[in-house]
């Protein structure tokens, strides 16, 4: 195993941190001879996007604080996006179910890679690195139903790409989430109210 991580360490890392990009960021820093502090800082920045994501699902979780904190651990990009109902609420069971499936595949994938990685070869030759962005692209196209959401997506893209050369990995995505503050405008809020009243069940 490269990067100074033993097979066991790689598997444990996957099992308890369960966040691909953060793991790769910190492993590459340790592998390049960087210190533990730099590696942890990199992983923290990569995972900082879970702050707005888990805040968004927070009100959709049932149960007491401990239960909600535990449910928050299941927030990962793909299942977060899939479980969004599009009205500001989330399906907590879809979120946890999708994450459970992703978790099992992620950990078993790490086990396979750690033990037989040399025999399989470079996963990028199978184009696997395009799978997640393509999947997110598909989810994104479903979100672009209004002019406002298209504008926010464009703003998020620009913010992220502008910051890539300037900030450590992870920061561009976190800052891009600020594009959603367009929702604070009077018109955006008025439309939400209108829709909730039309549905007859104000939340």
């Amino acid at each position: 195993m490269e990067a100074g991580f033993s097979e066991l360490a790689a598997i444990v890392f996957s099992a308890i941190v369960f966040a691909g990009s953060a793991q790769f960021a910190s492993i590459s820093i340790v592998g390049a001879g960087g210190g533990a502090g730099a590696a942890v800082a990199a992983a923290t920045l990569m995972n900082s996007r879970f702050l707005p994501m888990s805040a968004a699902v927070g009100p959709s979780f049932s149960g007491g604080p401990v239960k909600r904190a535990a449910k928050g651990q299941t927030v990962v990009d793909a299942s977060w996006a899939m479980s969004s109902r599009g009205d500001g609420t989330f399906d907590q069971y879809l979120l946890m179910g999708a994450s459970a499936i992703a978790y099992v595949s992620w950990v078993s994938g790490t086990v396979v890679g750690a033990i037989w990685g040399d025999a399989i070869g470079d996963p990028s030759s199978f184009g696997l690195d395009a799978v997640f962005p393509a999947f997110f692209f598909g989810l994104l196209l479903n979100e672009l139903h209004s002019r406002r959401s298209r504008g926010v997506a464009a703003l998020g893209t620009l913010l992220a790409l502008a910051l890539v050369p300037l900030t450590p990995p992870g920061v561009p995505v976190l800052v891009a989430s600020l594009a959603s503050l367009v929702g604070l405008t009077n018109r955006a809020r008025a439309e939400v109210l209108e829709r909730q009243e039309a549905e007859g069940a104000p939340r």
């Binding site: 360490a9 992983a43 923290t44 990009d77 395009a130 962005p133 959401s149 893209t157 939400v192």
Partner: protein
């Protein structure tokens, strides 16, 4: 403790805290309108940023590669057919194909 062990333990604790803050602070409440309005727009903002940083960047620099072509092909498929499975499969196939050339 070895460096990997420290990195694993610290990353684990910090990630758990990041994911717990929102649900503990905001759980079980009614959503104010402004919050709902922002959350609805959080999906397009974050998804667009994830796509952009994964397809058009390589770590800390902007880069167009085989994966950019793959994601573009996948996007075309989902736009025309609406199938997310076909989109993902084609994205991987095109990326692998371009890389093999």
């Amino acid at each position: 403790m070895s460096i990997p062990a420290i990195v694993i333990a610290a990353s684990c604790a910090i990630t758990a805290a990041i994911k717990a803050v929102g649900p503990v602070a905001l759980g079980g409440r009614e959503l104010p309108t402004w919050f709902t309005s922002v959350v609805i727009l959080l999906s397009p903002a974050l998804l667009a940023a994830l796509v952009a940083t994964q397809a058009f960047a390589n770590g800390d620099h902007l880069a167009i590669g085989a994966d950019t072509a793959g994601v573009a092909a996948g996007g075309l498929v989902i736009w025309r057919t609406g199938s997310i499975i076909a989109c993902v499969v084609l994205a991987a196939a095109v990326t692998a194909g371009v890389r093999a050339i």
